[in-house]
Structures are given as structure tokens and as C-alpha cells.
């Protein structure tokens, strides 16, 4: 296990380094002068040069890359060109919105998808199955931000049960903060649940045909016990793989959903930074979001291994 973990951590470091290189190359080498963009097209050349020097843009690209990565390793993501404060101070409060939102959405989607998938598999080809598959098709076809708008329309505008947007922060009480995340989380989770329910259904049907399931039933185990204790455990293998892949979509989804619900998360910070052409902030946010996807995929791999020890040394 230690060897496996070590190998995966080395791979993780390599992937993160590659991600940082991609972000840097795209943002700093492609056309466009940030200093010119900040000062405007009419700015004098001397002012642009002075700002380039102040932002450290006059050094060669490789030097800037090493300086940037070195800074991040020390926890220094640079200083925002717009807000003139350390990027870390901008990002951390936003993480306190985006991460809980993504985690709640993921938990919600798993909580809904596993029972739905089980019901569909249990009633394969009949009413329950068809109902779940219809929900799944509709959920996959629905853009999450549209669902968000419809939820606002119903539960905020018409019924007034939830706020239509905004985030009160965690300091004024966990209850109010969580309440503000309910509709955004449902918007994000529905699509994920629709996809995951299909995967659980397919995996349970696949595993149900295995010999060990027949043996379990022949030994006198009830249908329910066989399903929950034997079939579901084995069906979790493909399910966790898909959950890992879904996390990438979930992080992408938070960018849009934060915009729909006016949540002060990482995604909105990135969009504001684009508008201000604040490259340091865009770099940090994009890299952070990509890093979260990469780390979650490592965690999925580890969970995979703990569910199925056979995967152990073959990797």
C-alpha cells in the first residue's frame, strides 16, 4: 500500500506541475499585454512599461514561471493586480463557499442516486425502472443553471422559502449559510444524480448476474440482504470511478451555479478576474480548480483500492 501511495503521489506531483505549466503558458505566452489591458489602449508607452516592470512582466517567461511556482510552494500565490491584496486572501474566503457547495452537491447526488439505481435494477423493465430512467434522461438533458433558475422561480420568488441568491457567510450562523446553499446544491446535484443513478442501475444489474450472487441466494440469504450486502458493495466499484469523473463536471458546474445564485465562490472570482484582466488571480483559481479535480481522482483511486483489494499490487 505504501509503494502504491508513493507512486500515486509522485504521479500527482507530476500532473500538478504539468497543469501549472499549461495554465502559465496559455495565460502568459498567448497574445495580449496585461499591462496594456489594465491601463487601456490610450495609455502612454512609458506608463505601460512602468506597470510591466511593477508586475514583474519584464522578466523572461521561464524566470516568471519558476518564480510563480516557487511562490506557490511557499503558499504565496502573488498579489492581485486589481485588489492589491495577496491572492491567498482573496481565494480562501471563496473556497469556503465553493468547496462546501461541491461537497453538499456530491453527497446529495449520491444519496439520491444509489437508492434510485437500486430501485431501477430491482424492478428492471417495469414501472420503477422506467420511472428512474425517465428521470435520468430528463436530468441529463436539463442544464443545471436552468434548473437553478426554475428553483429560484418556484422556491424563492413564488413561495419565498429560500433566498434567491447571495451568501450570508459562515460567521452569522451555519444554518443560514447552509440554507443559502440548498437550491444551488440541488441544481448541481440533480444532473449528477441522474447520471449516477444510471451507473448504479447498470452496475447492480451486471453484478446480479454473477455466480456468487446465486450462491448467496442459494444459501438462503434474503433478496434484500443479498442486494445490500453483496451486490451493492461490488457495484460500488464502477460507481466510484464515475463519481471521480463527475467531480470534474461538478467543479465546472459550480462556476456557472455561483453565477446564477450570486455566490461569492471561486468561479465568480475567476469571472471577475477575467473582466479585470487580473491574470494572477485567474491563474491561481484555474490551477486550484484543476488541482482539486486531480486530488479527488487520487482519492477515488484510493477508495477503489479499499473497496476491491484485488486491485492492489497489479497497479
Amino acid at each position: 500500500m505504501t509503494g502504491f501511495l508513493l507512486r500515486r503521489l509522485v504521479g500527482l506531483a507530476g500532473t500538478l506541475a504539468a497543469a501549472s505549466l499549461v495554465v502559465f503558458v496559455v495565460l502568459e505566452i498567448l497574445p495580449g499585454d496585461p499591462a496594456r489591458a489594465i491601463l487601456g489602449v490610450d495609455a502612454e508607452a512609458a506608463a505601460v512599461l512602468a506597470l510591466r516592470s511593477e508586475l514583474g512582466l519584464d522578466s523572461p517567461a521561464p524566470v516568471r514561471y519558476v518564480r510563480w511556482v516557487g511562490g506557490m510552494l511557499r503558499g504565496d500565490f502573488g498579489t492581485s493586480w486589481t485588489y492589491r491584496i495577496p491572492v491567498v486572501d482573496l481565494v480562501l474566503p471563496r473556497l469556503a463557499v465553493t468547496v462546501p457547495l461541491a461537497v453538499i452537491a456530491m453527497l446529495l447526488s449520491v444519496t439520491v442516486a444509489i437508492p434510485l439505481g437500486l430501485v431501477a435494477a430491482r424492478h428492471h423493465g417495469h414501472g420503477g425502472d422506467l420511472g428512474v430512467m425517465a428521470f435520468s434522461q430528463a436530468g441529463i438533458a436539463m442544464p443545471n443553471f436552468w434548473l437553478g433558475l426554475l428553483l429560484i422561480l418556484l422556491f424563492a420568488v413564488s413561495l419565498g422559502w429560500f433566498p434567491s441568491g447571495g451568501f450570508p457567510g459562515w460567521r452569522d450562523g451555519v444554518g443560514a449559510a447552509l440554507w443559502a446553499l440548498v437550491l444551488p446544491a440541488i441544481s448541481l446535484a440533480t444532473v449528477q444524480a441522474a447520471i449516477l443513478a444510471r451507473i448504479v442501475r447498470a452496475a447492480v444489474l451486471e453484478v446480479s448476474r454473477d455466480d456468487f450472487v446465486r450462491t448467496a441466494r442459494a444459501k438462503g440469504l434474503s433478496r434484500r440482504r443479498t442486494l445490500l450486502h453483496h451486490v451493492l458493495r461490488n457495484a460500488m466499484l464502477p460507481t466510484t470511478t464515475v463519481m471521480g469523473m463527475q467531480f470534474s463536471f461538478l467543479m465546472a458546474g459550480t462556476v456557472v451555479i455561483e453565477s446564477v445564485f450570486f455566490l461569492p465562490g471561486l468561479g465568480r472570482l475567476a469571472l471577475q478576474a477575467i473582466a479585470n484582466r487580473d491574470l494572477v488571480v485567474v491563474e491561481a483559481v484555474v490551477l486550484l480548480l484543476a488541482a482539486m479535480v486531480i486530488v479527488v481522482n487520487l482519492i477515488v483511486d484510493l477508495v477503489h483500492r479499499s473497496i476491491d483489494p484485488r486491485l492492489g499490487e497489479s497497479r
Binding site: T15, V26, G32, Q137, A138, I140, W146, V260
Partner: protein
């Protein structure tokens, strides 16, 4: 020949395929019609007619500039399809080429390097790529096409690598190798034709994802720019008028859902027809 006929007969008997083809046909027809005709010009502003509900001389009402929602939905269909098709072609061509090269070089360092690169690319969902490219190139329909196209590349690379790899281990490929056919000829003559069905099914799924992604990017202001009509942008504009004109938030969303549902059902029907034993769920 009989195989081909049985695929067609399975398609003709598949409710998924028929419903999907009908819905997709409606969207394509809307896009084509918009090239020649819309009820009123899609960008015709009439401030005296602001936020009218459905009916009242406008099938689906008017927006905050008094523009006809139906006309904008029709034009939006065209934009959604253009982004979907071009992004799909980028992903399909680059991804399949990558996957086929990897499959032909199975087990080598090249195969390993290409597939690790594809895995890595998954860390950048289309929104992140679009954010990166927007800073560099500015927002617009081209930015979203490039972002979604790049996102599609590893998807097709993985599909082509996996299914192409399976074809490379078949007897007829071994025979072709034995008679001295080169890797390139085997790839074009045997591997590619045998994975076309799988690629077609993947293409429908990727096309649906591309429509959703474009709508999301347009909502964020990273894709189609105003005053050009786009379903995602229409939903963004509807957000401000939810209480006064809820219909603005309903019709563009329905249009996206119908387009995506249609393509997904079409893909389901194709998959069942090509693999009647029942393949992967998606």
C-alpha cells in the same frame, strides 16, 4: 449486408431512436428555417413591447428590449448547432487520430505518453479551458468552440484507443500483419472502419455535452456575445426579470433540454442497434 439491414430494422423499431430523431429533426429544422425566415427579425428592438407574455402577437412573448423570443430561439438553435458541430469535429478528428496512433503503438512509450496526456486533459473541464482562452483571446463563439473542442479531444482519444486496441488483437488484423501490411494501412483499412459505430455513439453523447457546455459558457458571457441570440445568453438575461417575466426563463431552457434529450435518445437508439446484446449504459 444483412447486418446493415438488421441495424436499420432495429433502428426503425427503436422508440429511443425514433423519438430522438424527431426531436433532433425539430431542432435542425428550426436552425435551417432561421436562416431564411423568423417571425420578426431576431434583433429587432421595440421598447414599447417589453416583457410581453406568450401570445399577444408574439408566440413566446418578448424580452426586456421588446425582441421576439421565438425569433431569438430559432436563431439560437443555429448558433447552438454550429458550436456543437465544429467543437465535435475538432474533438473527433484530433481525438480519434490520437487514439488510433496510441492503439497502433500499443504498449510503447508513445501509447503511454498519449494516454497520460489524455488523462491529464480531463482535469480541465470546458469551463476552465474557456476561462483560460477568454483571458488570452477574448470572449466569443470561437473561444467556446475551441474550449469545447479541446475538451472533446481526450474523450475521443480514449474511446478510439480502447476500441481500436480491441480490433488490433483480432485474427484478421494478425493475418494482415502476417502478409506484410503496415500499421498505417491496417489502421485505415481495418481498425477505423470497425470502430465507426462506437465513435458514432460517442459523437452523439459529445454533441449533447457540447450543446450544454455552450449554453453554460454563453450564460457566463464567455461564448456568443450580444446582440447575437444564444439560448444560454437568453437565460442569463432572464435572471434579472424572473419575477416580472418568468416565461423568459422557461422557453430557452426547454429548447436546450429538447435538443440535448433528442441527441441523447438518438445515441441510445444507435447504441442499442449496433450492440443488441446491451453495451455500456453510456
Amino acid at each position: 449486408m444483412s447486418d446493415r439491414r438488421s441495424v436499420w430494422s432495429r433502428l426503425a423499431a427503436s422508440p429511443s431512436f425514433l423519438v430522438g430523431a424527431s426531436l433532433s429533426g425539430v431542432v435542425v429544422a428550426a436552425a435551417l428555417v432561421s436562416l431564411a425566415w423568423t417571425p420578426i427579425a431576431a434583433d429587432h428592438v421595440e421598447l414599447g413591447q417589453r416583457l410581453l407574455g406568450p401570445g399577444s402577437g408574439h408566440w413566446f412573448g418578448t424580452d426586456h428590449f421588446g425582441r421576439d423570443v421565438a425569433a431569438r430561439l430559432l436563431v439560437g438553435a443555429g448558433n447552438a448547432l454550429v458550436v456543437g458541430v465544429v467543437a465535435l469535429l475538432i474533438g473527433l478528428s484530433a481525438g480519434v487520430a490520437t487514439g488510433l496512433v496510441a492503439a497502433a503503438a500499443a504498449g510503447s512509450w508513445l501509447d503511454e505518453a498519449l494516454m497520460r496526456a489524455a488523462d491529464f486533459a480531463f482535469a480541465f473541464p470546458a469551463v476552465l479551458t474557456a476561462i483560460l482562452f477568454t483571458v488570452a483571446l477574448g470572449p466569443g463563439i470561437a473561444t467556446s468552440i475551441v474550449a469545447i473542442g479541446i475538451f472533446n479531444i481526450p474523450v475521443f482519444a480514449r474511446t478510439a484507443r480502447a476500441s481500436g486496441g480491441a480490433v488490433w488483437s483480432r485474427e484478421y488484423v494478425l493475418s494482415a500483419q502476417a502478409i506484410g501490411k503496415g500499421r498505417f494501412r491496417i489502421t485505415t483499412d481495418h481498425v477505423l472502419p470497425n470502430i465507426t459505430a462506437i465513435l458514432l455513439v460517442q459523437a452523439t453523447a459529445s454533441f449533447a455535452v457540447a450543446i450544454l457546455a455552450e449554453a453554460g459558457l454563453a450564460y457566463l458571457g464567455l461564448s456568443t456575445q450580444p446582440p447575437e441570440a444564444s439560448w444560454g445568453r437568453m437565460l442569463f438575461e432572464a435572471r434579472t426579470f424572473l419575477a416580472d417575466a418568468p416565461h423568459l426563463a422557461v422557453f430557452p431552457g426547454l429548447a436546450i433540454a429538447i435538443a440535448v434529450l433528442g441527441v441523447n435518445l438518438l445515441g441510445d437508439g444507435l447504441r442499442d442497434a449496433f450492440d443488441p446484446r446491451g453495451g455500456a449504459i453510456f
